[in-house]
Symmetry: C2
Subunit: 217 residues, 2 copies
C-alpha cells in the first residue's frame, strides 16, 4: 500500500489516523508538496485526476481517493477496531458529523480554493484568513450544538468508541487553529479533541509530526 501525503493536508491526516488505529503501515509514503503544486503535475494527476490528496494505491494497483471513501474502505477491509458503530442511526449520526467537516467545511478552505480567491478576486491574505475563520466558526457552532445537545455523545463524538467523526474533529481543530477560530467557545468539541489527541494513533498522525513539517505553524 502506498499513501500520497503532505504534512499539512488535513484530509490526509484523517487517513493517517485511521491507518494508525488499524495498525496498518503503508509500504511507502509519497510526499506531494502542495505549496509547490506537485498535486497538479502529470505524474500525480494520472493517479488522482482531482489533483488532491490523499490518494492510496492498494497492492493490486487499485487507486483510492477522497478521504472519507478511503476511511470506509479501510474499515471494511480491516474491521478491527471498527470506525463506525453497528446501528444504522448511529452510523448516520457519525457520518453526518464527519460530513459537516469533510464536505461542508474543509473543501472551502483547501489550497486550490484559497489560491482561486486570491488570484481571481484579488482577495488579500487577511480576506482569505477571514474566509477560513468564517467557515470553521460556522460549522464549529453547528458541531457544538449537535454534540452538546445529544445523549449519544460520550467520551467521544459517538459514545465511547472512536469513530470517523472523531477523526474528522481532530482535523477540524487543526484547521480552526490555523484560521484563528478559538475552540474555547466550543467546549464539547474541545473536550473531544483534547481526548482523542491523548491517543497515540492520533498523536503520531498529527500534521506537525510528519516529514517536512516545521516545528510549529
Amino acid at each position: 500500500m502506498k499513501l500520497f501525503s503532505f504534512w499539512r493536508s488535513l484530509a490526509t491526516y484523517r487517513v493517517r489516523i485511521a491507518l494508525n488505529l488499524k495498525g496498518i503501515t503503508p509500504d511507502e509514503v509519497i510526499d506531494i508538496n502542495l505549496p509547490q503544486g506537485k498535486q497538479r503535475e502529470a505524474s500525480f494527476a494520472k493517479i488522482n485526476p482531482m489533483m488532491a490528496i490523499p490518494a492510496l494505491i492498494e497492492d493490486d494497483g487499485t487507486v483510492l481517493f477522497e478521504s472519507l471513501a478511503i476511511l470506509e474502505y479501510l474499515d471494511e477491509t480491516h474491521p478491527n477496531p471498527p470506525l463506525l458503530p453497528k446501528e444504522p442511526k448511529a452510523r448516520a449520526r457519525v457520518r453526518g458529523i464527519a460530513q459537516i467537516i469533510a464536505a461542508d467545511t474543509h473543501p472551502l478552505i483547501v489550497p486550490r480554493v484559497r489560491e482561486y480567491l486570491a488570484h481571481e478576486y484579488n482577495i488579500d491574505e487577511a480576506g482569505v484568513m477571514k474566509w477560513g475563520n468564517h467557515w470553521h466558526t460556522t460549522s464549529l457552532k453547528a458541531l457544538e450544538t449537535v454534540l452538546a445537545g445529544s445523549p449519544h455523545t460520550g467520551r467521544y463524538a459517538q459514545g465511547d468508541q472512536i469513530t470517523i467523526a472523531d477523526i474528522c474533529l481532530a482535523g477540524q481543530a487543526v484547521g480552526a487553529a490555523y484560521f484563528k477560530a478559538d475552540l474555547a467557545a466550543f467546549p464539547t468539541v474541545k473536550r473531544i479533541v483534547d481526548e482523542v489527541n491523548k491517543i497515540d494513533a492520533f498523536a503520531r498522525a498529527h500534521p506537525l509530526k510528519q516529514p517536512g513539517a516545521p516545528a510549529s505553524v
Copy 2:
C-alpha cells in the same frame, strides 16, 4: 418519515432519488425555502444546527442530516435495490466519485457560500457565476477522466448498477447547467446522466418537478 426539502436543493435531490429508487414515500415533505432564509429560522436550526437541507426525521424522532449520510442510511435500512456494490474497492470507487461531487464541488456553490462571496467580498453576480462555473468545470474534468478511463464504468458510473455515484452525477449535471458549464465537453459524464435521467425514480426527483419550482431555470 419527514423530509425537509426545497425544489432547487441539489443535496435534497440526491435523497429524493434514493427514496424513489427504494420505493419509500415520506409521510410529509416540508418545504424549507432557501432564498427566503427559512433554513436559518430557529424552528429549523433546532432540527439541523448546520441550517442546511436535506434533513430527514425518522418515525422515532431521530434526525438525520448530510445527504451522503442519509443515502448510506437508506441503503442500510432498505437494502433493495442496493445503492452500493458489494466489493470494498468498488464501494470505495463509488464513494470517491460521489465525494468529488458532494464534498469537493457542491459545498462550494451552495447559497450560503454565494451569499458570503457577494456580501463580504462585493463579488457581483457575474463573479459568482464564474465561481460556480469554475468549480463545476474543475470537477467535471476529473470525473470525465475517472469515468472514461476505467474498465469499471459501464452503463452507469459503476458497471450496470445504479449507485450513489450516479445519484450525485445527476445533481452535478443540474448544477453545471445552472452555472453554464456545458456537459458536451464531458461525454462520459453526459452519457451516464442522460441514461439515469431516463429512469422514473430520477425523473420524478428532478428539481423542476418539485412543488414551488418554476417551469424552467
